[in-house]
Amino acid sequence: MTTVYWEEEIETLPRVGLESIQLKRLQRLVARVYDKVEPYRKKMDEAGVKPSDIQSLADLSKLPFTYKDDLRDNYPFGLFTVPLDQVVRVHASSGTTGKPTVVGYTEDDIKLWSGVMARAFCCAGANSGDMVHNAYGYGLFTGGLGAHYGAERLGATVIPVSGGNTKRQINIMRDFGSTVLMATPSYALNLADAMCDAGVDPSSLSLKVGIFGAEPWSENMREEVERKLNLKAVDIYGLSEIIGPGVAMECLKSSGGMHVFEDHFLPEIIDPDTGEVLPPGEKGELVFTTLTKEAFPLIRYRTKDISRLMYETCSCGRTLVRMEKITGRTDDMLIIRGVNVFPSQVEHVLMGIDGVEPHYQIVVEREGNLDTMQVQVEVSENVFSDEIRMLENLSKKIKADIKDYLGVTCTVKLVEPKTIQRSEGKAQRVFDNRKL
């Protein structure tokens, strides 16, 4: 199979050429936000940096970070760089942890977004002949409409099915011949279970690839999804603050890692504690600067996502840097008795045990001065036994594997099937009941 690019010239540009484009765009961006957005100007003045100080890409590190709180402090439109009459669309986060964060797009921003999403589809081997089953939620969440416009731009046929109504989704997949599935990985598993219950064999469907994102998921979960849905599962990355889905995308030839569309979104990896930029290949917090967005550009936005950047050449021919699959977020990282724990690590352990279901949740409590972590796992027929001893051995094995892999002692609670809530969007894995 020959690789099909959406914008071959830019996707395969040698790094020197790419960096020259990035620098020009960065200089233009910094000058523009300094001129037009008061909060940016104030922050830059406080940091003692002027737009003219940006002479090389390395000078990026002189610029102050932008935090989610900056978005909230300027709610709703305070960081927009164009008048509202040029804004053709807004999206917003749910605001469950405070004020929602609002982002805006000009007409050209929407075109840019559709373009990077079309690139993402090409990375997954999709083309204009595909039937894209879009189970990302539509609405203020960027997933649904972002994927939708990208698929239309690609020339594919979009089924704007959105989340929920799982039985109907399966009928549609079967009757319409969906070839590309877009969903959160946890909803993909939900669909797989529902197919099993409905007696629909995934291999009788036309699905060939699933593009899964919007939440951290493990490599073992990837295998599970691929096996249960009989498709190739690839990872997509994006966040509404930067643009939505289509910031980075895994290609079919990459052995892990998503190509960052870095002619538009400039990535850095920093030490989340000190803010210092880390050398290539090191793991840390992802920071993005949007190079081309008009309505709502961001400079050095702290994503809280943990990743690393890989500059090695990919066999697909794209020269764009790859970011490693998100293994966790600085904010969903649990600290259990001083040990850093990401839910995706727990998931990785569980999926590595034969027969264990991918439905789990983590409950954290504080008893006295001690943190306790309980991992609840559903008992499927594959692991069930009529003997107490066998089930206790299963609990012990899960506990021991988590201890080995994470260095944390937990308790394991086996629960009845389907008692852990199924998600139709982002799964909630962690219930942290500690009152600190």
């Binding site: 009529d386 003997e387 107490i388 089930l391 086996l414 009845e416």
Partner: protein, 143 residues
């Protein structure tokens, strides 16, 4: 010689046992014997019923985890020392019992002991050799 037993996983939550037995009752399936083994977090309900397939389908349909296993039903006379005698015979044969439970059919007649052995074949040979009667599923249901 072997009897099919249904095992159901249940969390220690109030009402679960009532729910399971109601589901079975609605299917018109009769329970002949049962035992519950429990730990702090979960339990296993084991049932001998007159229609295994029907009960299994009904429980699975309601989302329960169900397993079918083979057990032995040993008939002993319902009198003092009946259980002790068969257990001694099992011990002498070096058989490892995973679990057991018992029910009495009609007072003064026979009792039925349900056994799950690690080595079922060896257990069958040994018990038959010692002169015990092993009941079939049909026989239990006809009791």
């Amino acid at each position: 010689m072997r009897v099919e037993q249904i095992a159901v996983f249940l969390e220690n939550k109030s009402g679960r046992l009532a729910e399971i037995t109601s589901i079975i009752a609605e299917e018109g399936v009769n329970i002949r014997a049962l035992s519950v083994a429990d730990t702090a977090d979960f339990g296993i309900l084991r049932l001998i019923v007159d229609d295994v397939e029907k009960a299994k389908a009904a429980l699975k349909g309601k989302g329960f985890t169900v397993g079918i296993t083979n057990v032995l039903a040993v008939e002993v006379s319902d009198q003092v020392g009946g259980l002790a005698k068969v257990l001694r015979s099992i011990e002498t044969a070096g058989l490892n019992v995973e679990y057991m439970y018992a029910f009495v059919n009609k007072s003064g007649e026979n009792a039925v002991l349900i056994f799950r052995f690690e080595d079922m074949n060896k257990a069958i040979d040994s018990l038959l050799g010692d002169g015990y009667t092993l009941l079939t599923g049909e026989q239990i249901c006809a009791l």
